[in-house]
Symmetry: C2
Subunit: 438 residues, 2 copies
């Protein structure tokens, strides 16, 4: 799999590997860390379950009344009518949160509140409106019959004891957490967050923190050294890594120098579970990453049939995934979305490696596809089609060329994947839009 970098050097990429194959190969080799920790429920949102959870407590945890009324034996109400009410004797009442160790006998009724503990011996609840109480005699006139089970929420009706609730690999949502509290979990076992080191390489880069600026908050062009560029990719990539469920343990800036890169990579592979770099991954003289990884580690694929992002390098070092993204912001973003985030999810043992929601939309403009054989990522803005309530939204291509164009990232809502073997798309074509992470 290790490619001859030198032979690529002179001519650019001789051959680009198929996008889907590259991605599959990469993710297949990103082995789950399978290391877990206990976190409290309030810390657990978006964490990946490291064990399948079952109901330790049934829901509800006791049978209860579904409404304000009277607990009765249903048989005592049969054939009741307004003309011929059945008379029951009111023996007690149970309010919500109250526990009474009693057993209802034939001919008896117990006043019961919504959600209150349903007493032994009873098998139905009759609505207040279907009865009349003679307060002085403690006699309840029942005008309407009820069937057994009526208005009773049975213990375990929602979740039985031991029933499977959520599977290992599931990323916990807020809606899960409410149920988990009820099911008997105070803390849950989740996968440890993968630790990621990020590097930017490029002699043209300056660190945002190294620029003094005016007030410490804002920078003017005069504060920038001439011909230098702010390392902005870190501010794109780190939030995406964190949102994907990993931690950035180190973020650095490296000169385009073989020894510097070799040493930094060595340390990073020792101290983290994944290394993500930006820049220096093409086939130019200053592109040291492919050289270093080729010499000391493993290049899985370098040069992928995708646009933007064809210079992406995927590899492994010390068994850990390395992802070298282009230095061009949009190419780096696309590389993060299609390789970086899924790799983090794979390391986390998550079941869903591609967390971005996908929606159907229709193309607002025709899109000619040049470069047959490439997977192309079209940035689009979504807009409601107000002509018809059932109409799909419009996907409007954000038409700016060049992979360095940061405006397409800000102005787009998602990405349409234009597959390799289609020559072009007409206006109105139905497409899938993967929404950007927020």
């Amino acid at each position: 799999m290790i490619m001859d970098i030198k032979s690529l050097r002179k001519t650019g990429f001789k051959e680009l590997i198929d996008f889907t194959k590259a991605r599959d190969d990469y993710l297949f080799n990103c082995k789950p860390l399978d290391d877990n920790e206990l976190v409290s429920l309030l810390q657990a949102r978006n964490r990946v379950l490291s064990e399948t959870l079952t109901a330790r407590i049934p829901i509800p945890n006791f049978s209860k009344s579904a409404m304000d009324g009277y607990a009765v034996k249903a048989a005592d109400t049969f054939r009741a009518s307004v003309e011929n009410p059945r008379e029951l004797s009111l023996v007690d009442s149970i309010s919500i949160g109250e526990y009474k160790e009693l057993s209802l006998e034939k001919g008896q009724a117990i006043k019961i509140a919504t959600g209150a503990f349903f007493p032994d011996g009873a098998d139905a609840v009759i609505k207040i409106e279907d009865t009349e109480l003679d307060e002085s005699k403690r006699v309840l006139n029942v005008y309407v019959p009820v069937v057994p089970g009526k208005n009773v929420i049975k213990k375990g009706e929602d979740y039985k004891l031991g029933q499977e609730v959520l599977k290992k690999g599931h990323a916990v949502t807020a809606q899960d957490l409410g149920a988990l509290a009820n099911l008997g979990y105070k803390r849950i076992k989740v996968m440890k967050k993968p630790r990621v080191t990020i590097f930017a390489t490029g002699n043209e880069l300056v660190d945002l923190n190294d620029i003094a600026g005016e007030t410490g908050d804002k920078i003017k062009i005069e504060h920038l050294p001439p011909a230098k560029v702010i390392n902005s990719n870190r501010y794109l990539i780190q939030p995406l890594i964190e949102q994907a469920g990993a931690t950035v343990v180190h973020a650095g800036l490296l000169r385009d120098d073989e020894t510097t890169i070799k040493d930094a990579l060595e340390t990073a592979l020792d101290q983290s579970d994944m290394v993500i770099t930006t820049g220096g991954t093409s086939v130019g003289e200053k592109d040291m990453l492919p050289v270093v990884i080729g010499k000391y580690h493993e290049v899985l694929h370098h040069g992928i049939a995708m646009k933007p992002g064809s210079a992406t390098l995927i590899g492994f070092g010390k068994g850990k995934p390395i992802l070298c993204l282009s230095g061009f912001p949009v190419a780096a973003q696309v590389g993060m979305l299609y390789f970086g985030i899924p790799a983090i999810k794979a390391l986390s043992s998550a079941t869903i490696l591609e967390p971005r929601p996908e929606i159907k939309a229709k193309l607002h403009d025709a899109v000619p596809v040049k470069g047959f054989g490439l997977m192309r990522f079209l940035r689009v803005k979504l807009e409601k089609d107000t002509s018809d309530a059932n109409a799909l939204p419009w996907a409007i291509p954000v038409k700016l060329s060049g992979s360095s164009v940061q405006r397409t990232m800000i102005e787009s809502d998602g990405i349409v994947e234009l597959t390799e073997n289609i020559e072009g798309y007409e206006r109105g074509t139905i497409v899938n839009v993967r929404l950007h992470p927020n």
Copy 2:
């Protein structure tokens, strides 16, 4: 607007207010806090901008070469061909990150790398492949003419100095942050997070932290007092509040007692920007919240034409929004999604009050609508329709009845809003699904 709670008490809600009107009234009265703070870019994801941001630095911040080649005056290449190459004298080279204060003269060429500083005097870059260099004589033979501007990325091409980038009220995404670093921002002004107090009321409730459990992590049914229920709503609501961009400053559990609730509400309204409660909001004897809010504060609407969640109360105290949700988990969830989260967004001055993505799907099963005039929230699971690549996904109703059924929350992916005035939906009807927050 204040309703007579006592008159409602005997009969349940006499009248339910229209869902859309209730929501509009409520959100209209949730006034933006308009208090801001500075945060560093890496802390800014999902925060709401408190000022419109403009480009303080143009992107790119200097003109640069789009490829490896030679910077030239385009006019010097006109009429160049393989038969009649134009000869230019190679005078210098500029690598990436390097700044050279020089001016290219007529008849000269400067070797230039991709992304390198584009020198004064030049107006185009010619590709290496279209030239041949006579190294000894330092003479460049140009075989192909270029037009002015060719292969040059102009300063400010992506963002001009002062150009508007993101508007006040925008919730910052990871993709924005990369651009903001380049545009000259180290820290940005964002809205302060609204502070929220949450209360659960109900004599049946026990706090999860007050249950000893086996190991501290897990609880068995034996650890629960009989007829008591874990206050699970907190574990649903707090993560939703946090994800919406607010902070929970206090979370408490209150007995169904007028004075207790009055005092707790008073303190909460002093110490936070919004109060959200669960339980005790219907028209039963133990439902103290409507009484207290009616007496001491303002009930905007109580009893809303929605299902689940008709017992929701919306009001204000000391000018701050109060949201009383049903104690039933699914009703509480729906109330949070449709009232709680939008109210937090309104307090945060966010432009988009409803952040859940909406997707089109088709109903997998017919859904009869009982209760004409109610806005109904149908929980659905999404499933790909594999019969056709262009087909909308199926929205499969999660068929469990009762608003207390927590399983529908775990098993559903989103909510279909069944509007008030439709009698029923057939299989295949195209619907909008609002995806749950994750």
